[in-house]
C-alpha cells in the first residue's frame, strides 16, 4: 500500500520535473524559432509556417553596410576568448606548479594573497583599471580586452589545489629520466589534472565571451567590438528589426550552449567544486 503510494508520488514528481524542464527550455526554443520564421509570425505563432534564413542573411550581410560588422565581431569574440583562455591555462599551470611542488619561503604568503584578492568584487576596480588602460594607451584596442585578463588568481587557486593532490613520485620519475620542468608541467601535470584544466578553461572562456560591461567601456569603434557589445548596440538602434536581432542573439548564445553540451561533465564538476 505505502509502496504503491510512494511510486505514484514518484511518477507525479517525474512528470512535474519534465514539465518544468520544458518550461525552462521554452525561452531558448522561442528564441531559436523566432530567428528562423518570417517576421510577421514572430509574435503570432510559436511554430513557423515556413523556415527562412533571411534574418541570418540580414545580420551577416546587410548589417555590415549599417556599420555593424557581425562576422568580424564574431571572430573578435572568438579570438579574445581563445587567447585569454589559453593564456590563463598556461600561466595558471606554470605558477600553480611552482606553488604546489617547490618549497620556498614566500609560497604560503603568495597563495594566501591570491585567496585574499578573490574577496574583492571586480566592480570595485572597473574605473581604476580603465585609468590603467588609458595610461597604457590601450583604450579602444583588442589588447584592452586581453591584457588585463591573461592571468587569473582563481585559475591559479583551482589548479594549485588540484596539483597538490598529484603524487610527487610521477615528477621524481620524470626528473630521473631527465625531463625539463616545462615537460613535467605540460606532459605530466596537465594530463593528470585534466578535469580541473577543463573547468578553469571552460569558466574562463564563458566569462570572457559573455563579458559585457568591460568591453562596453573600453571599446568605442564598431570594427573592434566583440559580439556582446555589437549586438547590444544593434539592438539599441535597430531593435525594430526583431528577426535579425533574434538571429544575432542565437549567434551569440550558440557557442556557449554548444560548449556547455560538449563539456557538461566538467561544467557540473566545476559547480560542485566551487563549494570547497
Amino acid at each position: 500500500m505505502t509502496n504503491k503510494k510512494i511510486q505514484s508520488g514518484n511518477v507525479i514528481l517525474h512528470i512535474v520535473m519534465f514539465f518544468l524542464s520544458l518550461i525552462w527550455l521554452y525561452p531558448y526554443a522561442w528564441l531559436f524559432l523566432a530567428s528562423v520564421k518570417p517576421s510577421a509570425e514572430i509574435y503570432t505563432r510559436f511554430l513557423p509556417t515556413r523556415f527562412t534564413l533571411e534574418h541570418f542573411r540580414f545580420i551577416l550581410e546587410s548589417a555590415e553596410r549599417m556599420n555593424r560588422p557581425f562576422i568580424r565581431a564574431f571572430f573578435i569574440s572568438l579570438f579574445v576568448s581563445v587567447t585569454v583562455t589559453v593564456c590563463v591555462i598556461i600561466t595558471s599551470a606554470i605558477i600553480s606548479f611552482a606553488l604546489s611542488k617547490y618549497r620556498f619561503k614566500a609560497r604560503d604568503g603568495i597563495f594566501n594573497f591570491i585567496i585574499f584578492q578573490m574577496v574583492f568584487p571586480g566592480f570595485m576596480f572597473t574605473i581604476p583599471l580603465y585609468i590603467l588602460m588609458r595610461n597604457m594607451h590601450l583604450l579602444n584596442s583588442l589588447a584592452a580586452l586581453i591584457v588585463p585578463f591573461i592571468m587569473s588568481g582563481w585559475g591559479i587557486f583551482m589548479m594549485t589545489q588540484s596539483f597538490r593532490g598529484t603524487p610527487n613520485d610521477y615528477i621524481e620519475a620524470a626528473k630521473m629520466d631527465g625531463a625539463s620542468d616545462m615537460f613535467i608541467i605540460f606532459r605530466i601535470m596537465l594530463p593528470l589534472n585534466n578535469s580541473v584544466i577543463a573547468i578553469v578553461g571552460l569558466f574562463t572562456f564563458i566569462g570572457v565571451w559573455d563579458n559585457f560591461m568591460w568591453p562596453l567601456i573600453v571599446i568605442q569603434d564598431y570594427y573592434k567590438m566583440p559580439l556582446s557589445v555589437l549586438l547590444a548596440s544593434f539592438n539599441h538602434e535597430y531593435g525594430a528589426y526583431i528577426g535579425p536581432v533574434m538571429a544575432g542573439s542565437v549567434i551569440q548564445t550558440l557557442p556557449m550552449v554548444l560548449i556547455f553540451i560538449i563539456f557538461r561533465k566538467a561544467f557540473l564538476q566545476g559547480i560542485s567544486m566551487s563549494l570547497k
Partner: protein, 294 residues
Amino acid sequence: MSKRIGLAKKEARKGFGISSIYLIYAAIFWGYPFVWLFILLFSKWRFVGSPQFVGFRNITRVLTDPLFWKTVTNVFRFMMYYIPLVLIGALLFAIALNKIKFGKTFVALSFLVANVSSGVAYSIMFSNLFSVNGPINKALNSLFGITIPWFTSPQWAMFSIALIVIWKFIGYYGLILYAGLTAIPKSLYEAAELDGAGSLTKFFRITLPLLNPSIIMVLVLAITLAFGIFTEPYMITGGGPMRSTLTPMMHMITTAFQRMDPTYAATMAVFVAIISFGMIWVIRKTMEREVDLV
C-alpha cells in the same frame, strides 16, 4: 649533504622566480588600480590634468546623494524578490533531482543550460518574450484574461528582472545544493526513520542543518550578484521606468563615462562593495554554526 642544500636553494630560487610572474602581474593589474582607487576616493578629477585633493568631499557626497541610495534600495528590492524565490526554488530543485531516477540528466541539463545563456542575448530574448504584446502576455491573456506590464511599470519592472535572473541561476544554485545534499550520509535518515521521524522532521532536523554551508554559499553568491547587476537592467529597461531598475553599477558607469566624474563613481563603487561585504559578514555571523549530529 651540501649538495642537497644547494638543490633546496636552487628549488627555492626557481619557485620564487616563477611565482614572481604572478606577483608582477598582480602589482600592475591589481596593485596599481588599488592605489588609484585611494587617489580617486579623495580627489576631484575629470580625466584631464592631475587629480586635485578634496578630502572627504566625495564620501560626504555619496552619503547625501538620494539617487545613489535609490539605486541601493533598488538592489535591496531585487534581493527581496530574488533571494527567497531562488533559494526555495533551488532547494526544491535539488531535492527533486535527488529523488528522480528516470531522465535525471535531461532535467539537470535543461535547468543548467539557462545558466550559460549569454547576458546580452538573454536580455534581448526576455525583453521580447515579456513585452506587452509578447508571447507570455498573449498566453496569460487567453488563459486568465490579464495583461501584465512586465518591464514597463515601476511596480513590476524589478520583479520581472528578478524573475529572469531566477530562470538563469536556479539550476546553478540548485546544483550546489544538490552536491551538499548527496554528501549527507544516508545512515542518518535511516536512523531517524527507526526513531519514527516523519519526512518533515527529517527535512528540518537533518537536511536543512547539514545543508547550511551550501545555503550560505548560495546566499553569498546571490548577494554578490545582486550588487553587481548591470547587463539586464541596462539592456531591458535602461534603468527605468522612473528609475525603478537603476542599479548602482549602471549609475556608476554613467557617472564615470557620461558625466565624466570618475572620482565620484569610484567612491560609489567602494560604498557598494562595503555594503555587500557587510551583508555577507552578517549572514556568516548569524548563520554559520557547527553542526551537531548527535
